[in-house]
């Protein structure tokens, strides 16, 4: 794994993304799904920031809002000092070369009517980086990078297995030589024995090209393996952000603690000796989140203040941020 230096590549400040709820004949807006509600964090060059949380917590929306696939409702997303939220049209398009995405579902994210070669080569043509024979050469090289045979470029996605398709998705993401890649649950659709192959590939490529990853996943074991730092989200807000060692070794937020204790360990002896915090109930709706701290309805240690004010996301020890009234 590359050692990240302290240069900040991506700076996210007060990012908000609300999806309007429209009702009635005139489709008047009656509310909003507050998918991401005021989150701030940095990603340093060369590091992997793991972003974890349960379905509907806003982790994918965060990834997409950073890449401007969703335009944020408010806030700033700076990459190399340029605020993407203010950019439009051609200027934004030029910035897109620096940032790419690997999607969750390798079956839905590749156009079934395009050959593998044209899928991987399209970004090069769209961005006027290469043309003609040069595209073919680059495609062949990219396929080799992801450990697939260059002869695959004339074949179609349906001829490949899930793991191979995900490699094709990785090759497409790499074609523009980006510095930042959002990996949105890149392995959760794959079989267990294939997951390790894809994760090892992502790590190799990171080392080779000094890539920076935002690795979105719900598999906390894999996130522990791949990440430099880890952020935990719950119902649209970030509740904790720390180095891997701190987050897994001494999680501070009660949600992080419960989440970690819920992950099964493939070791029967460790499993029998474990103390679990079982959370009651379900995640509330992001259209109507609880007042104050959003986790308070399921929190084992919630107090009066938790209903009254939203806890500040503050640095408790160096590099360890947490949003909880109960953490001193």
């Amino acid at each position: 794994m590359t050692t990240p230096n302290n240069e900040v590549l991506l700076h996210v400040k007060n990012l908000v993304k609300h999806f309007p709820i429209n009702r009635g004949l005139l489709q008047k807006q009656v509310g909003a799904v507050r998918a991401v509600d005021d989150i701030s964090f940095d990603i340093k060059r060369g590091e992997t920031l793991g972003l974890v949380g349960e379905s509907g917590c806003g982790k994918s929306t965060t990834g997409r809002s950073i890449l401007q696939l969703y335009r944020p409702t408010s806030g700033h997303v700076e990459i190399d000092g340029v605020d993407l939220v203010r950019l439009k049209g051609e200027e934004l398009r030029r910035m897109r070369r620096k940032m790419q995405m690997i999607f969750q579902d390798p079956y839905a994210s590749l156009n079934p009517r395009m050959t593998v070669g044209s899928i991987i080569g399209e970004p090069l043509i769209v961005h006027n980086i290469a043309s003609g024979k040069e595209v073919d050469d680059r495609v062949a090289h990219l396929l080799e990078l992801v450990k697939l045979s260059p002869s695959f470029s004339t074949r179609y996605p349906h001829e490949f297995s899930g793991g191979q398709r995900q490699r094709i998705g990785v090759a497409r993401a790499l074609s523009l030589q980006p510095s930042f890649i959002v990996c949105d649950e890149p392995i959760s659709a794959l079989d267990v024995s294939i997951q390790a192959q894809v994760v090892n590939l992502l790590e190799d490529l990171q080392e080779q090209f000094n890539l920076t990853y935002l690795f979105i996943a719900h598999d906390l074991s894999m996130v522990r393996h791949i990440s430099t730092r880890v952020a935990v989200m719950y119902l649209g807000v970030m509740v904790e952000l720390a180095s891997r060692a701190d987050l897994y070794g001494s999680p501070l937020h009660p949600y992080s603690q419960a989440l970690l204790s819920a992950v099964p360990i493939p070791d029967p002896i460790a499993e029998t000796n474990r103390k679990r915090t079982i959370l009651e109930g379900d995640v509330p709706s992001p259209a109507n989140p609880p007042s104050g701290c959003r986790f308070r309805t399921r929190c084992p240690i919630a107090d009066k203040i938790c209903a009254e004010s939203r806890p500040e996301f503050r640095e408790v020890t160096t590099g360890h941020f947490v949003a909880c009234h109960m953490v001193k």
Binding site: E54, D191, S193, H218, L260, S261, P266, I278, L279
Partner: protein, 329 residues
């Protein structure tokens, strides 16, 4: 074998597909003891679900067909029963919970109606009795206000709650065996933990025998007493849970366990990865189905299919190689 509740011998199931016949299960034999929890582990297409579906006569024919084998449950062969006969076993004595609670509940019927139906059919209750029992069942699986929730439709429940409804339905006729087919795969980890706790509690309260089908070795480690690993339509390793995790003997089991990162340990080195892909079996294998991906492969593996052999203490493995010496076992 006297104390076996379910005794399956030589089960083979095939599917006709446009590309040819797929040999999904290729001679699987195992027993289920009363009161135990058996974990069945493997990747998609390994035959773990098809094995259990075959036993319950739930394989759609065509395209599927159970072509050989016996499955004894209290002295009767389930595979020889008529549709009507097995219908009385299924749901009443052996019941099943499926992976996706949304597609296994009928969206246009209330949850109450769907819970009452098996009670009236199998137990012979009246609608009123069934209604009371249904409310009791929902309460038992931890659904708040069970009486009111009976009138709700499946879409009014969250994913975790729906899976609780499915479990309540499976338990409604007090079955002896509960077969759970990836029941928590579609759920978030904190909800998965809730469901697993629930099953553990019900298992000890009701003394149920449980078969838990999953691809997640972590879930099995915390829940099962015995584990069966499947690959290419065969059982390739089977044993008591502690022994299997401490001494995984088949190269595939070994690889799977080593390839998993752990949430409670730092691992800075590269993940162990099994190269290649799981097979799709258009022919019944005549050699070891794992041989093309195995790093210990020997000549013999490419010629003969290994059989399950006892290596002590109920630990069985189907492999020619001793992975610590790299030579013939």
């Amino acid at each position: 074998m006297p104390d076996l509740l379910l005794d399956i011998r030589g089960l083979e199931t095939q599917f006709k597909t446009p590309d040819g016949i797929v040999h999904a299960v290729n001679g699987v034999s195992f027993g289920l003891k009363e009161g135990e929890t058996l974990g069945v582990v493997g990747e998609s297409g390994c035959g773990k679900s098809v094995t259990m579906l075959s036993v319950l006569g739930l394989i759609p024919n065509p395209p599927g067909k159970v072509i050989a084998g016996e499955a004894f449950y209290v002295g009767q062969d389930l595979l020889k029963m008529s549709k009507e006969e097995i219908r009385h076993i299924r749901g009443a004595q052996i019941s099943m919970v499926f992976q996706d609670p949304m597609t296994s509940l009928n969206p246009v019927l209330t949850v109450g109606f769907q819970l009452e139906e098996p009670l009236m059919l199998h137990v012979g209750m009246t609608r009123n009795q069934a209604r009371d029992r249904a409310a009791e069942l929902l309460g038992m699986v931890g659904i708040p206000n069970p009486k009111d929730r009976l009138n709700d439709y499946p879409h009014q429940f969250s994913g975790g709650m729906r899976q609780r409804v499915m479990i309540a339905m499976a338990l409604s006729c007090s079955p002896q065996i509960l077969i759970a087919d990836e029941p928590t795969t579609a759920l978030d980890v904190t909800i998965q933990a809730q469901i697993i706790e629930l099953v553990k509690r019900l298992r000890s309260e009701l003394g149920m025998t449980v078969v838990w089908i999953t691809h997640d070795l972590g879930v099995v480690a915390g829940l099962a007493q015995r584990v069966m690993v499947m690959y290419g339509g065969y059982i390739i390793e089977e044993g008591p849970v502690n022994d299997l995790f401490a001494n995984p003997t088949h190269p595939y089991t070994l690889g799977l366990i080593q390839s998993l990162p752990r949430v409670d340990q730092d691992q800075h080195k590269k993940l162990y990865s099994i190269e290649g892909l799981p097979p799709i079996l258009y022919q019944k294998p005549t050699s070891c189905p794992f041989a093309p991906r195995c790093k210990w492969v020997m000549d013999r593996c490419k010629k003969e299919n290994p059989v399950l052999e006892n290596i002590g203490d109920g630990h069985r493995v189907a492999c020619w190689v001793n992975t610590s010496t790299g030579r013939n076992r």
